[in-house]
């Protein structure tokens, strides 16, 4: 049986301090740090996944968080096969940021596969994003999951699912 090897660029997008870097760290290195270190520019990591007879090298571009001061450089998205939108469940405004980013990406690069992760599920009692908000997005056909970089919940599944969708 021949094994197909592919390499796919995946970008992590979202507001600042939503946990994009932590999710990549959890996914690639299986670790979590409580210390928040903001990302400037972009950090690139690699993770290889096996999907049946396919080996997919995911080149993970962890982009700086979006806010008023540092708007996303769309140039980083060039060549991306898909992307992960991340929002912080405890800050409902970050869901708005994620929705806005998705529009901008789509306007520039067309409809790419993506996953929306509502992170920090370990702080569920502090969430301001409601189940109704998520249900509405799911009704619109979005792939939405909750995740926790701290516990690892939902992380592997999200990347595997996205990898499956971007792999030929």
């Amino acid at each position: 049986m021949s094994v197909s090897v592919q390499q796919k660029k995946i970008c992590m997008l979202g507001g600042f301090s939503v946990g994009k870097t932590s999710l990549v760290k959890r996914y690639v290195e299986s670790v979590f740090s409580e210390t928040y270190l903001t990302t400037v520019g972009v950090k690139i990591d690699k993770k290889t996944v096996t999907l049946g007879d396919k080996t997919v090298h995911l080149i993970l571009w962890d982009l700086a968080g979006e806010d008023d001061m540092a708007s996303l450089r769309m140039s980083y998205m060039r060549g991306s096969a898909g992307y992960v939108l991340v929002a912080d469940g405890t800050r409902s405004a970050t869901l708005e940021v994620a929705l806005s980013l998705r529009k901008r990406v789509e306007a520039e690069y067309g409809p790419l596969p993506f996953a929306l992760l509502i992170n920090k599920n370990d702080l569920r009692e502090q969430w301001t994003i409601t189940d109704d908000d998520l249900e509405k997005l799911r009704t619109d056909g979005w792939w939405v999951r909750t995740s926790s970089a701290r516990t690892g919940e939902g992380v592997e599944d999200a990347f595997t699912d996205l990898a499956t969708r971007v792999a030929r």
């Binding site: 301090s17 270190l37 903001t38 400037v40 690139i44 060549g79």
Partner: protein, 412 residues
């Protein structure tokens, strides 16, 4: 092919002349139209790119270029890319030669290290974000505080409402208690001169206007003991007191059962009237029936008194006419009483009645002629009246068991 060479091609040297600063890792890659690495040099090792093989697909060796080639526009710039941990570079892309043409063109990639600047920016950005996060937390905390405060205010309002409600309840309760106390007081006041059932009826109606002075047609009944003055002079006070006690105990329940209004009793004298404050259509008949019952009761007592040597008789006078009624007296000592000629007349008739006689005026006699056996006494001069009165004696009742028990006796 060598990497990390100190020598750069002229094209690279010219481009990097403006960009390179001392202390930075600077490297370059050259990629042909087929995205094959055809050249590389400079300080590649810090980016984990040492040992690149020329003639091999570039994305297999330099994964950061995945998806980026061929570049859509030239030059193309990607700033602050952390290729390996802790080392960031600006990536500059540009093409040279006819891309896609015969002999092909090249895409050049220059990696110019910017770790120091990136770290500086990172520190500034970190502070800004930390501050923003702090502000967001503060805002969220303030919102929670406001919500808690609003809840507190709402709870306080609710408490105040409950307190007001409680105060209202208390007030109502106090008013009810005051009303009850007032009712009891009124009841006690009424009970002094009314049959209890009538007193309760009046009190529950809450109408005290009856206590105000007014005129009404009443039947007035006076009774007292014959020979009481002589008896009280000769007897011991205890004997007098005992006799009076028996006397009152026998009469007062009768007055109440006939629903008469007890005006007063002074010693052996006692006055009752009917048709006030509770109206009754048969005031004369009631007065006569009560009188007959009283006579019966005292007759029963008299035999016992006689056995003890007390020679005491009992006489009654009844008259009908208008009187002025209402509360008479002063604060703390009020009586419900009747004043008028009718009262005097009844009293005088009583004075004139001998033991066992019930003297009534002609008006009473006419009113009870159907129910009572009457015996005319004749015209009787009465003290205080200018003309003598036609007086009859009630011998007994026609329909009752009180038959002719008391025969006409001599007036005293």
């Amino acid at each position: 092919m060598t990497t990390g060479s100190a020598q750069f091609p002229a094209q690279v040297t010219e481009r990097l002349r403006e960009l390179v600063f001392a202390g930075r890792a600077v490297a370059w890659l050259e990629v042909d139209d087929t995205q094959t690495l055809i050249g590389a040099g400079g300080d590649l090792a810090p980016y984990g790119l040492a040992g690149l093989n020329l003639g091999v697909a570039v994305t297999e060796q330099v994964h950061i270029l995945e998806g980026l080639l061929p570049i859509a526009e030239s030059p193309y710039f990607m700033p602050e890319v952390e290729i390996v941990k802790g080392r960031a570079a600006d990536l500059h892309f540009w093409t040279e030669g006819a891309s896609g043409g015969e002999g092909g063109g090249s895409t050049w990639v220059a990696l110019v290290e910017v770790t120091t600047q990136r770290d500086l920016t990172q520190r500034l950005q970190q502070k800004a974000y930390d501050m923003t996060l702090l502000q967001e937390k503060e805002a969220a905390f303030n919102r929670q505080l406001e919500a808690a405060n609003a809840a507190l205010v709402a709870a306080q309002r609710e408490l105040e409402a409950s307190r007001d409600e409680l105060a209202a309840w208390n007030k109502t309760l106090e008013e009810r208690v005051a009303a009850q106390v007032g009712e009891i007081e009124r009841m006690n006041k009424m009970k002094r001169f009314l049959a209890p059932s009538i007193a309760e009826l009046l009190v529950s109606s809450g109408d005290e206007s009856i206590l105000k002075r007014h005129r009404r047609d009443i039947a007035a009944l006076f009774c007292d003991l014959r020979g009481f003055t002589a008896f009280s002079e000769s007897a011991e006070p205890e004997e007098v007191s005992e006799l009076l006690q028996d006397y009152h105990a026998a009469l007062v329940p009768l007055i109440q059962s006939f629903e008469g209004t007890l005006d007063r009793f002074v010693g052996d004298g006692l006055m009752v009237f009917f048709n006030d404050p509770v109206p009754c259509p048969d005031s004369a008949e009631r007065a006569v029936r009560l009188a007959v019952a009283m006579r019966e009761a005292i007759a029963a007592l008299s035999s016992a008194w006689r056995k003890r040597g007390h020679q005491v008789g009992f006489g009654i006078g009844i008259a009908q006419g208008f009187a002025t009624l209402g509360q008479i007296g002063f604060e703390g000592r009020f009586d419900y009483s009747a004043i008028g000629t009718v009262v005097n007349t009844a009293a005088r008739l009583c004075e004139n009645a001998a033991d066992g006689q019930i003297f009534v005026t002609s008006r009473i006699a006419v009113a009870v002629s159907e129910v009572a056996e009457l015996a005319e006494i004749g015209m009787l001069p009465v003290k205080g009246l200018s003309r003598p009165l036609a007086v009859s004696n009630v011998v007994g009742l026609k329909d009752g068991e009180q038959k002719v028990v008391w025969l006409n006796r001599q007036t005293r």
